[in-house]
Amino acid sequence: MNFEHTDDRRMLADTLVRALRDGYPIETRNAGAYGETGYDPAVWQQLTELGIVSALFDEAAGGFGGSGFDIMVVFEALGRALVVEPFLGALMAGRALAKAGGHDETLAGIVSGETIAAFAHEDGATPVTATKSGDGWTLSGTKAVVSQAGAASVFVVTVEQDGDPLVLLVPADTAGVSVRSFNVVEGGAAGDVTFENMTLGADARVGGEGQGQAIVDAAVGAGLLALSAEAVGAMEFVKETTLGYLRDRKQFGVPIGKFQALQHRMATVLLEIEQAHSAVINAASAFDGDDATARARALAAAKYTIGRTGALVAEETIQLHGGIGMTWEYAVSHYAKRLVMIDHQLGDEDYHLQRYIALG
């Protein structure tokens, strides 16, 4: 057994953590996160130049990493700094294209960071349908709360079909596409993406007949791993900050960390974070394996675990801080919001618990 990351991966992680700690203070983050676009394009450019997106893809896709553990270290670092720039869309849309092959130019743009991509998966009130028209399709309906939809120049869109889902690449400027953008509660942006009788040629298809489910699984699996790792990174930051507060803040003449009532709560937080960390390691390890069921189960287990633990850590750290943890000015409140709201992305803890049971 060896729980150490390889040297290369450790260097990548250290570089990222350091760069984000020095160049991405919470004020910078919040200015982007709660601003009109929900992120800062200049920061995005700086971070992509560090090779963050490239680390999420293997050499065949133009990257230099791409394993489960690469995704893990990158998103842990992003979570630790509460990054809102559009990495999740790059990962999910890019992994879909990489899995399918073809669309090389778009994929290259995503991996280099020049193209902002979004993965439009969850249906809104009117599900997206595709009807055959000529060689291509006519698309109608709405995809719900797509991360960074407003900034994206391309969407990878999934359409439920009998049997195998259809995956389509749709440039955002195609006639018939509209995006309703909004900020999200924890900072960052998303949007509802609506397609109105939009016609697409045959070349819009990502992958061939019968490949749809595998492509969706690749993209969603990477997304689940990324979100789980991001949550663990955020939990680590929150844990360290809360510990500092317990040591510094005095009431009744002693640091509040001397009170057993608070010690036990913090001990619970610590051990649940360690469990979450292990869940992400399990998922990253299974991610590269050949056993599809084991992979799916480990990913469901990780997302279930961080959903449950994320809310626990958020609620406990706010409580341990008292009023300060409730203020906008204090960084922990924004981390707490992210830790709670991450459960609302790609299926919540109940969804993944039921999925885990169904996978046997």
């Binding site: 509660v185 009431q251 809310a311 706010i318 609302h344 109940d350 969804y351 039921q354």
Partner: protein, 398 residues
């Protein structure tokens, strides 16, 4: 045992219900039901309606304008009020300061301040917590030094709820720095328009501005505004805190918000069926519903044990802990019920009078901010850890 209300109590409940039906403006109940932010004028409007009926200060003695209700009647009123989606009575003047003045204030103070609380002439706020004195309230540092006919006040208060609207603040101040920390505290009434007072808003986790910091620099307060005796303020402060914790269980609020959650869970679809039929979500709802029914009975048992009125003592700590846990769990389930559509942050949708188009289901924009805002319930009014300390000491004798 008989858990039903007596015929008199049932008749009272009907009277209360018909009052809400007739007198609660639909505009206000809609705002409350939808979880929107109330303006100062909305709160004042409701106070005036209650006051006209003589029901605003419902735990004051009749001599000072109270209706002479039993604790059970007050419980019924509070519950029906929440179920009717009436605005909450702003507690600082009516529920907190009022009882202190009635018990410890001079005749002049009662005559001067109590009618003004009732008719809305003064909006009061609370000056208890300080940056270094939260759970350790007696560790407060704001000083008041007597110079002739005035006290000169210096220091800082924090978490002053709705202080931005206030005309007056009741404050704990240190008048004897040499005494043991509980013994050198006095209770002062301070005009917010006094020179030397500055109010700075604190933005909370959900973007809301409901609490403030209040700074005092050489603020002069007439000696006539001292309540009771100098250096005896801690006694009055503790008396007030038992009132602060009365009805903090908020059973009525929980019932009202749980009913809304149930309705929404029936409508909301998840995986091809209603969310209410999702086994895990249904189990979460069932647990909280059972807890809530138990809580209601616990609350009534505590009230029944308080013979002849007054506020419950350490038992109110039990109500605070369990009641706030239930309220928080309901806001958590409500947030979850909206799925992805809990995420959009539309601050303007929280304001009364917003006519924009919803993102996702109706009222989705309120779900997450309400959940985050209500994390405060287990922190303020003495955190739930402090309540457990009180239970350990006062009830368990540990």
């Amino acid at each position: 045992m008989d858990l039903s209300f007596t015929p008199d109590e049932e008749a009272f409940r009907e009277e209360v219900r018909s009052f809400f039906r007739d007198k609660l403006p639909a505009r206000l109940s809609t705002l409350v039901r939808e979880g929107k932010r109330l303006r100062k004028s909305d709160m004042e409007e409701w106070h005036a309606i209650l006051n006209e009926r003589g029901w605003l200060a419902n735990h004051w003695p009749e001599q000072w304008g109270g209706p002479g209700w039993s604790v059970i009647q007050r419980f019924i009123f509070d519950n029906e009020s929440a179920l009717a989606h009436a605005p909450r009575v702003v507690p600082f003047g009516v529920n907190m300061l009022g009882p202190v003045l009635i018990k410890y204030g001079s005749e002049e103070q009662k005559k001067q301040w109590l009618p003004r609380i009732l008719d809305g002439s003064d909006w009061w706020c609370q000056g208890y917590s300080e940056p270094g004195a939260g759970s350790d309230l007696a560790g407060l540092k704001t000083t008041a030094v007597r110079k002739g006919d005035v006290y000169v006040v210096n220091g800082q208060k924090t978490w002053t709820t709705l202080g931005q609207h206030a005309d007056m603040i009741f404050c704990l101040v240190r008048t004897d720095p040499a005494a043991k920390k509980q013994e050198g505290i006095s209770f002062l009434l301070i005009d917010m328009k006094s020179p030397g007072i500055e109010v700075r808003p604190i933005t909370l986790i959900d973007g809301e501005q409901e609490v403030n910091e209040v700074f005092f620099t050489d603020v002069e307060v007439p000696v006539a505004n001292l309540v009771g005796e100098e250096n005896m303020g801690w006694t009055y402060a503790k008396y007030l805190l038992t009132y602060e914790r009365t009805n903090i269980a908020g059973v009525g609020f929980s019932i009202a918000s749980f009913e809304r959650l149930k309705e929404f869970a029936q409508m909301q679809k998840k995986g091809g069926r209603s969310l209410a039929d999702d086994p895990l979500f249904a189990a979460r709802m069932a647990r909280v519903e059972i807890d809530l029914a138990n809580m209601q009975t616990t609350n009534l048992r505590v009230l029944a044990a308080v013979a002849g009125g007054g506020a419950p003592g350490a038992e109110s700590s039990m109500l605070k802990i369990k009641g706030t846990e239930i309220r928080q769990e309901i806001t958590s389930l409500t947030r979850r019920a909206y799925g992805s559509y809990a995420a959009p942050y539309i601050p303007e949708a929280l304001e009364a009078g917003w006519n924009g188009e919803d993102v996702g289901p109706e009222d989705a924009a309120m779900a997450a901010p309400s959940y985050f805002n209500n994390r405060k319930l287990s922190i303020f009014g003495g955190s739930n850890e402090i309540q457990k300390n009180i239970i350990s000491k006062a009830i368990l004798g540990l």
